[in-house]
């Protein structure tokens, strides 16, 4: 992977962001994940944690252990070197109950696009998505790969709360939510899968770079799947292993 002319952005004295671009784009995200992997190998003094996003990598640093300006230059050199191809991520199949009380916006999204609710579900289920980033709240997985025909700007007003496990879309993004939170996205369904569960191994199910497929399941299966997930089962199935 060649240099994409990344840009250094200063985030005060405790972080540096390396920005590869400002779009939601598979190539940009691959560069971000490749730099993240390279930085993990390099173990530069002063690097504390890294946060990959759709188009940039934020490197949190300890300003006592390293000078952030010098560290930024070292990271930039790595970013402009030949980066390895990102690792092949795991691929997860995630069960989703669509529509009804589980996805209250399914009908409205269908109507907006002139599709039937079943056609929206089919288009949402079709792609293999990529986890571009985890952020906002613990375990919130932002996916790339949404069918552009489903893209829809966010609701004018956000809802004060949306349930744990919400499967939603906003703009060109698809989301797997973990815990209940306010959201202005369009709610298509719900998964019993806990993408964040303290006390379970793993605590976080999804890693940046993982693949995600959705599997529609009957609402009648919700209670059993939800109980299993609450008891610590993953409920999601690995397709690559």
């Amino acid at each position: 992977m060649t240099c994409r002319h990344p840009r250094l952005l200063t985030c005060g004295d405790t972080a540096i962001t390396i920005e590869f671009g400002d779009a939601i784009d598979a190539g940009l995200n691959a560069a971000v994940l490749a730099l993240d992997a390279r930085l993990a190998e390099a173990a530069l003094p002063g690097v504390v944690e890294t946060v990959p996003t759709y188009r940039s990598l934020t490197v949190h640093c300890d300003p006592v252990a390293a000078d952030p300006a010098e560290l930024a230059q070292a990271i930039l050199r790595l970013a402009c070197s030949d980066l390895p191809s990102p690792r092949a991520g795991r691929i997860w199949r995630i069960p989703v109950v669509y529509g009804g009380e589980f996805g209250v916006d399914l009908g409205a999204v269908a109507k907006h696009h002139g599709l039937s609710p079943d056609a929206v579900i089919a288009r949402h289920v079709e792609p293999e998505y990529r986890v571009a980033m985890l952020g906002f709240l613990p375990g919130y997985a932002y996916l790339s790969g949404l069918d552009p025909a489903l893209a829809l700007s966010r609701r004018p007003a956000s809802r004060p709360t949306t349930p744990a496990g919400t499967i939603s879309i906003g703009g060109a993004q698809a989301l797997v939510a973990s815990i209940a939170a306010p959201s202005g996205w369009h709610l298509l369904g719900r998964t019993p899968v806990r993408s964040f569960m303290p006390g379970r191994d793993p605590i976080f199910l999804l890693e940046p770079g993982d693949g995600v497929c959705f599997e529609p399941v009957d609402p009648g299966r919700w209670d059993a799947l939800d109980r299993a997930a609450a008891a610590g089962e993953l409920v999601a199935e690995r397709l690559d292993a």
Partner: protein, 340 residues
């Protein structure tokens, strides 16, 4: 039986905090930890604990506590809260001992927001994911994922309680009249020159939307550039000043979202985070841009102060203990009033 602290009553924002929960930013979980790291470290230093040991953080409130199976040495630092031991005024920013059955009452602070109560030996509550710090939104850590409330009983680790003299420490002032120092960026290019001038020249008032996640400010609108106020989400830090469509800046703090889709015009320097956190709704601040080099210098200076804290508390004369205690309380508040 080990000693315990029993909560008779406490304010809503009374939480357990330690150094914070590290290593999970890439999964969307911010570190939490003290809103005023210096106060947290000072309270722990006063009772001989490691500076990041678990302690109780009060947010614009206080509480009443009873000691079981004492004696227990404790100390309060941060926002100056009037305190009483069995009805007698005692000082903050000094250690004191409470006997079995004694009652400690802590009032809402006269100034500032966050105060930390540390207990010698520490609080014996199991951490979650490496920390006892409560993360409100994730309902993680703290006591069963929640703040403290009446009826809670916090077991304490066996204290290395010796007969040594009580110790005191001068509070580090919040310097309310001086601007909050910031470094411009990461997205200052998403704002007009007028927008940046507004940030650097206007006064901003802490709104009622202020909690451990962040403080929103009221004031003149900060003008975005032609590309609007949405960006493709990227990483945030404690201190990020994001500006949503309203033009009203939000300073992100300990329990913040780890990524965000609003442009961030500037970042509060790490040494000044406590100076933001200690402002109440209705208080006014100004922002001043400094260089990254200056921000790093101040961060290193702050780290050195915290590293030295365990050696800084001075003995309080035992004889005049109670009198001096009352005296110190008055002095501490006066000092804050003058210097702030």
């Amino acid at each position: 039986m080990n000693a315990a602290l029993v909560v008779i009553a406490c304010g809503a924002a009374t939480t357990l905090q330690d150094g914070g929960r590290r290593g999970y930013l890439r999964y969307g979980l911010s570190a939490s930890g003290p809103m005023d790291r210096l106060a947290h470290a000072a309270a722990n230093a006063l009772v001989g604990n490691p500076v990041d040991a678990p302690a109780i953080e009060f947010g614009l409130g206080g509480g009443r506590f009873r000691i079981e199976g004492g004696p227990v040495r404790l100390a309060l630092a941060g926002a100056p809260c009037p305190m009483r031991r069995d009805g007698e005024p005692v000082a903050h920013h000094r250690s004191l001992v409470l006997r079995e059955g004694s009652e400690l009452s802590i009032d809402r602070p006269c100034q500032g927001v966050f105060a930390t109560l540390a207990l010698a030996g520490g609080i014996a509550v199991a951490g979650v994911m490496g920390s006892v710090s409560l993360h409100f939104r994730a309902a993680l850590g703290g006591l069963d994922g929640r703040p403290l409330r009446a009826g809670d009983r916090l077991p304490l680790r066996p204290p290395p309680l010796s007969g040594e003299a009580e110790r005191c420490l001068d509070p580090v002032p919040v310097e309310r009249d001086r601007p909050i120092r910031i470094v411009l960026g990461p997205q200052e290019d998403r704002f007009t020159k007028g927008g940046i001038d507004t940030l650097l020249n206007a006064a901003f008032t802490v709104s009622n939307r202020a909690d451990r996640m962040g403080y929103q400010f009221d004031g003149p609108e900060i003008e975005h550039g032609g590309d609007g106020f949405n960006i493709v989400s990227d990483g945030t830090v404690a201190g990020s000043i994001q500006v949503p469509g309203s033009g009203r800046p939000i300073v992100l703090l300990a329990d913040r979202q780890t990524t965000g889709g609003y442009p961030k015009i500037a970042t509060v320097i790490s040494a000044d985070l406590r100076r933001v956190a200690q402002r109440r709704p209705g208080e006014t601040v100004r922002f001043e841009a400094v260089s990254l080099q200056e921000a790093v210098r101040l961060a290193r200076e702050r780290a050195a102060v915290i590293a030295a804290l365990p050696t800084l508390p001075k003995p309080v004369a035992g004889e005049a203990d109670r009198l001096l205690g009352a005296n110190l309380a008055g002095n501490a508040v006066d000092a804050l009033d003058e210097q702030d």
